[in-house]
């Protein structure tokens, strides 16, 4: 029996892939993402962490791109290319984890607010609305300033400030699922809140969550870069802190375009890739966007 279950899952995945493949932009995004993740994972194998140390920098200050330094060097003579590779680890790591945190909070709050009625739902939604109207960047800045600069606090700051829209979305979907007769049937079978939320609501909102997470990663990366640019850094190099470095050491006035453009373009590329992927996932998984519901 389990073999058949496995077969069905494989067939389901196959169908999903068939449909995803039709979303050309999504495939492009997925390829870019795959590349970025592979590079981030392989960096420790092909590059030595010591090159990030300003005291061990080998190149000249602000050297334009050359064969030795393909993307030039920074103000301390470090290779911009290598910094980008190391920076991608921080940016992606923070992006993923912050998005995950945001999605977990958003999904839990959304499902709870949609499932329970009365004061609980009203209370949760007021809190959500509060977070929704709060200037999240300012809040994140304040939070990271209070909590001190580490990857963990940055993740926390971004995650805690960005879940509200997700919660709204998930709540709407939960309400739609809860109105279905199978929920009534499940209640008549004796199901409690936990059973209904985990067995019926969660699987039905999961595709939405997945698509939304992908989009959320993109905005988390932007948020991290913005925070780093504004000075709330983790201490280790990320694309955002590179941008800040470039500004601080006058790369713009010195004409050191490689120092500004490379991290900037990396952010744009990865964020775009996540967005393309997320939109494609949404189109494939969200029955309302697909037009036909099953």
């Amino acid at each position: 029996m389990t073999a058949i279950v496995w077969e069905r899952r494989k067939a389901g995945l196959g169908r999903f892939w068939q449909q995803f493949r039709k979303q050309r932009a999504g495939v492009v995004g997925a390829v870019i993402l795959g590349l970025a993740v592979v590079i981030a994972l392989l960096t420790p194998l092909i590059s030595d962490a010591s090159i990030m140390d300003v005291t061990k920098a080998t190149g000249k200050d602000m050297d334009p791109p050359s064969l030795d330094y393909l993307l030039g060097t920074d103000e301390s003579g470090r290779s911009v290319l290598q910094m980008l590779m190391w920076g991608s680890r921080v940016s992606l790591f923070i992006g993923f984890l912050a998005a995950l945190l945001s999605m977990v909070i958003g999904t839990v709050v959304g499902i709870a607010a949609g499932h329970f009625r009365g004061w609980m739902s009203a209370g949760l939604m007021r809190v959500t609305d509060w977070f929704l109207v709060l200037p999240s960047l300012v809040l994140a800045l304040v939070l990271s300033a209070i909590l001190g600069g580490s990857s963990f606090t940055i993740i926390l700051a971004i995650g805690v400030t960005s879940w509200a829209s997700t919660a709204r979305l998930i709540r709407a979907q939960t309400l739609a699922v809860e109105a279905r007769p199978y929920i009534e049937r499940s209640k008549a079978l004796g199901a409690g809140h936990w059973h209904i939320m985990t067995r019926h609501v969660l699987p039905n909102v999961a595709p939405l969550v997945l698509a939304n997470t992908t989009l959320q990663v993109a905005s988390a990366i932007v948020a991290e870069s913005t925070l780093a640019f504004l000075g709330a850094t983790t201490g280790s190099t990320s694309w955002g802190s590179m941008l800040r470095g470039a500004r601080d050491y006058g790369a713009l006035t010195n004409g050191a375009w490689w120092y500004i453009l490379s991290p900037g373009l990396c952010i744009v590329a990865v964020v775009l890739a996540f967005t393309l992927c997320g939109r494609a996932l949404e189109a494939v998984l969200n029955p309302r966007l697909r037009g036909v519901s099953r």
């Binding site: 007769p181 008549a188 199901a191 409690g192």
Partner: protein, 328 residues
């Protein structure tokens, strides 16, 4: 018929049940004083138009809705609305809904749908229970259906899965809300025959909520006709459906296809936020309308004097001033 009238032991009972809602700022008296009993091994049809409160009554009997006043009794004891007691009650009384497509989670296989009840209640031998329930519901061999998804089944098969899901908890009573209304004509009879067979094999009682008098004639022992939150006529199917005494029952029967003299009631289905005084049917009553009530001098009573709530007894009962006066 004598067999019907012999006193069955009452399994589920509604005693002077009232259920009210707030509806657009007004109070809707969805169920407005109902006595109804379902005996062991008995099939009772609850007949009425939409908006008459029959679905609310069924949901209240299942404990999915709390009564405003009055009581639901199961096996002689009042229903306990504590979560543990209610969960235990769920194993005894099960629900079958009108729309089998909506009643099944599209992401669950047939096996998961049927196993849901046993899993909730932590029953052992889950697979055996599922297999047994599916074959009882007429899906044989059961293994063939285990891994199908609802969208791969026909409407009739889906309704069988829903029934199997209810059977998996070995209930003693099924509450079926329009169990065949959304099914094709050809499948209808099959599902009804299944309910009859389950009664025969398992002694399963059923309360079938429907607007379809043919269904009552097909499978029910007793019928209760509901109008605007009250039961207006009840009794054995043979008596109520062949010699109806309440004008509303008479009208419902007269509009069935092929009937000689249809009495089409005018006006819209009644509104539970505006229950008329006197007999609640009097604004639409054809007997009052043509003046026959006036002939026997009850027209004043019809408009002004409310009727008593009918008792939950197997014998034929009717809540009508005209029927009482003429003794018909």
């Amino acid at each position: 018929m004598t067999e019907v009238l012999t006193k069955r032991k009452t399994l589920l009972e509604a005693r002077d049940l009232h259920v009210q809602f707030a509806s657009r700022g007004r109070k809707a008296r969805a169920v407005d004083g109902v006595n109804l009993a379902v005996g062991e091994g008995e099939i009772v049809a609850l007949v009425g138009e939409s908006g008459c409160g029959k679905t609310t009554l069924a949901r209240t009997l299942l404990g999915l809705e709390r009564p405003t006043s009055g009581q639901v009794l199961y096996g002689g004891a009042g229903l306990d609305y504590g979560s543990r007691a209610l969960k235990a009650y769920r194993r005894e009384v099960q629900l079958v809904l009108q729309d089998p497509t909506g009643s099944l989670n599209p992401r669950h296989t047939v096996y998961e749908a049927v196993a849901e009840g046993p899993r909730i209640h932590g029953l052992a031998n889950e697979e055996e229970i599922v297999r047994d329930a599916l074959s009882r519901a007429g899906l044989r061999p059961p293994e063939r259906f285990f891994l199908r998804y609802p969208h791969e089944l026909s409407g009739g098969q889906r309704q069988r899965v829903v029934i199997a899901g209810a059977l998996a908890l070995a209930p003693r009573l099924l509450v079926a809300d329009e169990p065949v209304a959304s099914l094709d004509a050809s499948v209808r009879g099959e599902i009804l025959a299944l309910l009859l067979r389950l009664r025969e094999e398992l002694g399963l009682s059923a309360l079938v909520v429907t607007h379809d008098l043919g269904l009552a004639w097909n499978i029910a022992d007793r019928v209760a006709v509901m109008y605007l939150g009250r039961i207006v006529e009840s009794g054995p199917v043979e008596q109520v459906l062949t010699a109806p005494r309440h004008p509303y029952t008479q009208a419902l029967l007269s509009v069935l296809p092929e009937s000689p003299e249809p009495v089409v009631l005018t006006g819209e289905p009644p509104d539970p936020t505006r229950v008329p005084g006197g007999c609640r049917f009097h604004p639409r009553c054809q007997v009052l309308g043509v003046g026959r009530a006036a002939e026997v001098g009850v027209d004043g009573k019809c408009k002004g004097e409310p009727l008593a709530v009918l008792p939950a007894v197997p014998e034929p009962q009717v809540a009508c001033h005209y029927a009482a006066a003429t003794g018909s």
